[in-house]
């Protein structure tokens, strides 16, 4: 068994180079598609999640339980299932605006998936701002919106941005799943390439993995460092 493993490893280096050259263009094209999906996902997700998070961060009576239920629903179901529901069930309702193609369905489900994370992050960051900041502003004559815009949100950005980086990585990984509805992103490209070179399945998947890693790992490192800094920076200013 070990012998087989070593044989597998010691195989022709030239062969691997040839496969890589043949396959990488397609993989890179897929990766660009992955980045596109992730970008749309984070934009929509941040917009939706940011709004919900701001609402949720302020203990507004009606909104909090509703948003809480929405979050539980999203956190309690797998992304794959959410994708299927959005892709199969919603168009089934007959409403014309829900008759979307696979790419739109992918965008929508990625956006909604992202929003569930962003909502928590934003509302947590807002709640972390001391109550005295709100009271100081109110006492001076700021209304709620002004306080949010000028006092609270500027202070919460420092908490939100590092966490958002982590969400971005989660999102990139989730894009691999939309391959099941036919979107040709990196995973799909890898699957297609494997059909061309069925003897090199593992290698091609490793190449795809390397691409994911090359992008996600640095982002995770930066995020980690930012989080350390914001944790210490709170105590040591300027």
């Amino acid at each position: 068994m070990i012998g087989q493993f070593l044989d597998f490893l010691g195989a022709d280096l030239a062969h691997y180079w040839k496969i890589a050259a043949a396959v990488m263009p397609a993989l890179l094209k897929g990766f660009v598609e992955t980045l596109k999906l992730a970008l749309v996902g984070i934009l929509w997700g941040s917009f939706l999640g940011g709004t919900l998070g701001i609402l949720r961060g302020q203990h507004i009576r009606v909104a909090t339980p509703l948003i809480g239920a929405y979050l539980h629903l999203l956190r309690g179901t797998p992304f794959l299932v959410q994708l299927y529901v959005i892709y199969f069930v919603l168009p089934n309702t007959g409403y014309s605006w829900l008759q979307w193609d696979s790419q739109t369905a992918a965008f929508v489900s990625l956006g909604i998936y992202t929003s569930s994370y962003v909502t928590e992050i934003v509302s947590g960051a807002i709640r972390a701002i001391p109550r005295g900041q709100w009271e100081g502003a109110f006492a001076l004559g700021f209304n709620r919106l002004k306080t949010l815009r000028l006092i609270i949100l500027p202070q919460s950005i420092g908490l939100i941005l590092p966490a958002l980086g982590g969400v971005y990585v989660t999102l990139i990984k989730a894009t691999s799943i939309v391959s099941v509805v036919g979107i040709v992103e990196l995973m799909r490209q890898a699957d297609i390439s494997i059909v061309r070179f069925p003897g090199d399945i593992l290698y091609i998947y490793f190449l795809a993995g390397a691409l994911y890693f090359a992008f996600c790992f640095p982002v995770l490192m930066i995020v980690g460092r930012l989080e350390e800094r914001s944790k210490n920076g709170r105590m040591v200013r300027a």
Partner: protein, 269 residues
């Protein structure tokens, strides 16, 4: 050490139409109750409290913790809601739902126990921002104003420091400048020196003394008895949500009528 000597705060006392002696703050029959929860019975925070403050008067409220004195102070600028009663401040009916609260609050200055300076802004920016955002003054005017008041509280040199770089006493002085720069008609002080080191307490109290001397209408909640004795026009003793005793400093400190007042005073000295 920066000192507040010889401050001219008359510019801040721009209370239009407020002749000395007219009633500035009128609190009538205010009641507030915290509803009962699973863990505790309902607590009466304010028990049918009535109080009037005249223009230019300095009223000092004393009492044990939990007596409701801070709660009462915070109802004046509606940071606390009440269950029943009315509060009128210089013609604005605070308790009326239709009142534009932000506009009203820009006329009332409040100084908090924990300063509540905006942590992401420098001292100078803290004093400028409310003027520009709420009073809609031009940036130039606000800056000039800010410089003036920061100088007067002795903090102009540290104008570009962030709150995290300032001591408690310094932050409180900036907070006072920030409130004064809005030209309030009334100043509320909620235990303004309780969170300060003993060395810095005196400086802030001197500032408050000056302010009183210039004729500002002030309501002060404090534990500093000598301040109450020397600066107050009237002293109010509260306990368990109600006003127990009220009078001039001599009346309350030398000649307290109520047993509870005397007990409290003997404890605090």
């Amino acid at each position: 050490m920066d000192g507040p000597g010889g401050i001219d705060l008359s510019a801040a006392i721009a209370a239009p139409g407020q002749s000395p002696g007219a009633i500035s703050i009128d609190i009538k029959s205010v009641k507030k109750r915290y509803p009962a929860t699973a863990n505790s019975a309902g607590i009466v925070a304010l028990d049918d409290v009535s109080l009037t403050v005249k223009s230019g008067e300095v009223v000092v409220i004393i009492g044990p913790s939990g007596s409701g004195k801070s709660t009462l102070l915070r109802t004046i600028n509606a940071l606390e809601k009440i269950d029943s009663g009315t509060i009128v401040v210089n013609g604005d009916v605070v308790t009326n739902k239709a009142t534009d609260l932000p506009a009203f609050r820009s006329k009332v200055g409040m100084v908090f126990q924990h300063f509540n300076l905006f942590l992401h802004k420098t001292a100078m920016e803290n004093v400028i921002l409310p003027q520009v955002a709420v009073k809609r003054r031009s940036r130039a005017e606000a800056e000039a104003n800010a410089g003036k008041f920061l100088a007067k509280v002795g903090m102009l040199e540290r104008a570009n420091n962030y709150p995290s770089q300032l001591s408690g006493g310094q932050q409180q002085r900036v907070a006072i400048a920030r409130a004064l720069a809005m030209n309030p008609q009334v100043m509320l002080f909620d235990e303004a020196t309780s969170a300060l080191d003993p060395e810095t307490v005196g400086g802030v109290l001197d500032l408050m003394r000056e302010l009183a001397g210039e004729g500002m209408t002030m309501v002060v909640v404090t534990h500093e008895m000598h301040f109450a004795r020397e600066v107050a026009d009237r002293v109010v003793f509260m306990d368990a949500g109600a006003i127990v005793e009220m009078g001039t400093p001599e009346q309350v400190f030398r000649n307290a009528q109520s047993e509870r007042t005397r007990k409290f005073l003997s404890l605090v000295g």
